[in-house]
C-alpha cells in the first residue's frame, strides 16, 4: 500500500486526492474506482443526479462511508484518522440539512466548531472572524438557533464549519430546501469564503447553474463513477450534464474518464 499520493501531473500541489476509491453499502455500489485531486485554494463542485454518489465522496473523505478499495490522501499522506480527528487535520465538514443545534444559541453553536481547543484567545479570534464574515450571526448571537430562518441556519452551519479554521471545507448541498433568493446569497458567501480566507472548498450541489457560477472546476458523477471533469465553461459547452441527468451515458463511454 502506498503512503503518498499519486501525482496529478500538473506540477501544482494537490491538497486532497482520492485514488481509486470505491464505497459499497452492502450490495449497492455508491462509488466505483473514483480518483480526483483538489489543489490548494480551489473551489470544486461535485455534481450529478440523485444517487450518483456526490455526498458519498465527502463521507469517504470524512471516514463516514465504508471505503472498500482505494485511498484518500491529505497533503500527500494517506488520511487514516478517525472521523473526530479529521477536523483537527484541517478538514471541516458542513453536513447536508444544516444540522444546527436548535436548543443552543448561535454563539454556542459556533463555539462547538472548535470547543476542543484549549486556547481561549484563538477561539475568540475565530469567533470574531466568523462574525465579521456573517454579520447576521453577530447581530443574533444570543438568539436560539431555532429562531433562525432556513437561510440564516445555513449561514450558521457555514460559520460553524469555519470555526475549525480549516484548509479544506466540505459542503454537502448547502442550498438544499432554501428559497431561490437565499440560494444566491449562500453561493455568494461560499465564494467570499474562498476569496477572503483562501479556503479550499469542495461543494456538493444539485443546483448546477448556481454552482457553476462560483466554482473553478467541477466533477460530474454518474452512478458512482466520474463521467467528466473540467472548468465550468467546458461543462456548459458539453452535453455531459444533459446526458447524465437523462441517463444517456453508458458505462463503456466513460471507461476512459474525462
Amino acid at each position: 500500500m502506498t503512503q503518498t499520493a499519486p501525482s496529478n501531473g500538473s506540477g501544482e500541489a494537490v491538497l486532497l486526492a482520492l485514488d481509486g476509491v470505491s464505497v459499497h453499502y452492502g450490495a449497492v455500489v455508491a462509488l466505483d474506482d473514483v480518483s480526483l485531486g483538489i489543489r490548494k485554494g480551489e473551489v470544486v463542485a461535485v455534481m450529478g443526479p440523485n444517487g450518483a454518489g456526490k455526498s458519498t465522496v465527502l463521507k469517504a473523505i470524512m471516514g463516514l462511508a465504508p471505503v472498500v478499495a482505494g485511498e484518500v490522501y491529505w497533503r500527500q499522506q494517506r488520511l487514516a484518522a478517525a472521523t473526530h480527528e479529521i477536523v483537527k487535520e484541517g478538514i471541516a465538514f458542513v453536513p447536508q440539512g444544516r444540522r444546527v443545534f436548535t436548543h443552543l444559541t448561535i454563539e454556542e453553536n459556533l463555539e462547538l466548531g472548535c470547543l476542543y481547543l484549549g486556547d481561549h484567545e484563538e477561539k475568540a479570534r475565530r469567533l470574531n472572524s466568523v462574525m465579521e464574515l456573517f454579520p447576521i450571526l453577530h447581530e443574533k448571537r444570543r438568539d436560539m438557533a431555532s429562531a433562525m430562518s432556513g437561510g440564516q441556519q445555513q449561514m450558521l452551519a457555514l460559520g460553524r464549519g469555519l470555526m475549525a479554521d480549516p484548509d479544506l471545507l466540505l459542503l454537502d448541498e448547502p442550498t438544499l430546501g432554501l428559497a431561490p433568493i437565499v440560494v444566491g446569497e449562500v453561493f455568494q458567501k461560499v465564494r467570499e469564503i474562498s476569496d477572503r480566507l483562501n479556503t479550499t472548498i469542495i461543494l456538493v450541489e444539485h443546483n448546477i447553474r448556481g454552482a457553476l457560477e462560483i466554482v473553478d472546476r467541477a466533477y460530474v458523477l454518474d452512478r458512482g463513477r466520474i463521467a467528466h471533469d473540467g472548468t465550468p465553461e467546458s461543462i456548459r459547452e458539453s452535453n455531459i450534464l444533459t446526458d447524465v441527468f437523462l441517463g444517456r451515458v453508458r458505462r463503456e463511454d466513460n471507461e476512459g474518464g474525462s
Binding site: 472521523t83 473526530h84 453536513p95 443545534f101 436548543h103 462547538l112 466548531g113 475549525a164
Partner: protein
Amino acid sequence: MELWANLIVLTWAVAFMLWQGVGFAITLGTVFAIWAILAVSLNLVVGFTGLLSIGHIGFFGIGAYAMAFLTSDASYEQLRTEAIPTLGWPFFAALPVSVVLAGVTALLVGIVFNRFRDDIFVLVSFGFAIIAFSVFLNLRSVTRGAFGIHEIERPAIGGWVLDGEVEFLVFALICLALVVLVCWLIVTSSFGRVLTAIREDEEAIAVFGYQVTHYKLAVWVISAMMAGLAGGLFGSWTTFIDPNSFILLESMLLVCIVILGGLATIWGSLLGAMAFVLLDEGMRFLPFIPSEFVGQARQIVLGILLVLLMLFRPQGLVGRYRL
C-alpha cells in the same frame, strides 16, 4: 404554567408540613433529598444527554449495598443464616467506596452500552436493572440475599453520631446541594454544551471533532457515582436494606420523576422529586384508601399522572424539551 407548577408543588409541600407536623416533615425532607439526588443525576443522562436509561436503580443499589456491607454491625447478623464478614468501617470511609464502586461499575457497563442508542439503549439499561437486582438477591455472601442487611452505620463525626432525624436531614440536604452544584457546573460548561449537542444530533457532533463515546461514558459514570452516593445515604438512613428497595419498578418511578419535573432542568428534577414524595407519602393519609392498597394506588395515580402529562404537558412541569 411554570409559575403555577412551582406554586402548586411548593404550597402543597408547606400545607402538608403544617398538616402533619414538623416530625413528619423532617422524614419527608430526607426522603426528598435522596430521591432528588437520584432524579438530578438521572436527568444528566436522560435529559441533558438524551440517553433514556431505566437501569439507574442498579447504581443506587450498589451504593447502598457497599455502605451496608462495609459498615453493618455483624453481631446482629451472626444470629442469622447467610452471615457476612464484619468490617465495621465508619460511615465516612464507606461513603466514598459507595460512590467509587458505582462509578467503576458504570464504567465497565458503559464501555459496552456505548455501542447502543435510542430504543436499544433503553432495552440494555433495562437488562442492567434486572441483572443488578438478581445479583443483590443471589450474591448472598455479600448481600445476604432476601434476608437483607441490618444495623447499617449512621454517619458520625468524631463522637457526634448523626442519629437524630434533623441531623441526617441536614447532612442529606448538604449532599443534595453538592450534587446540584456539580450538575450545574457540568451543564453550564463547554462539556455540557457538547452533551446538549449529542442529545440533539449525535452524528453531527462527531464531525466537529468530538469523540461522542467519551462524553457519553463520562456523564454516565458521573451520574452513576451520584446514584451511588444516594444509595449510601439511603442504606445508612434506613439502617436496613434488602433487594426489594432496588426493583425495576423503582427505576421506572425514577424515570417518571425526571419526566414529571422536566427533561434537562435541574430545578425540574427537584420539583419532580418533591411532587413525587408528596404524592407518595400523602396518599397514606387519604381516608378512602385502605392502607393495604396505598402502594398500588400510588402506582395507579402516578401512571395516570404520566399519561395526562404526556397528553397535555409532554415537557413536564418546568421543562422545555420532550422525550
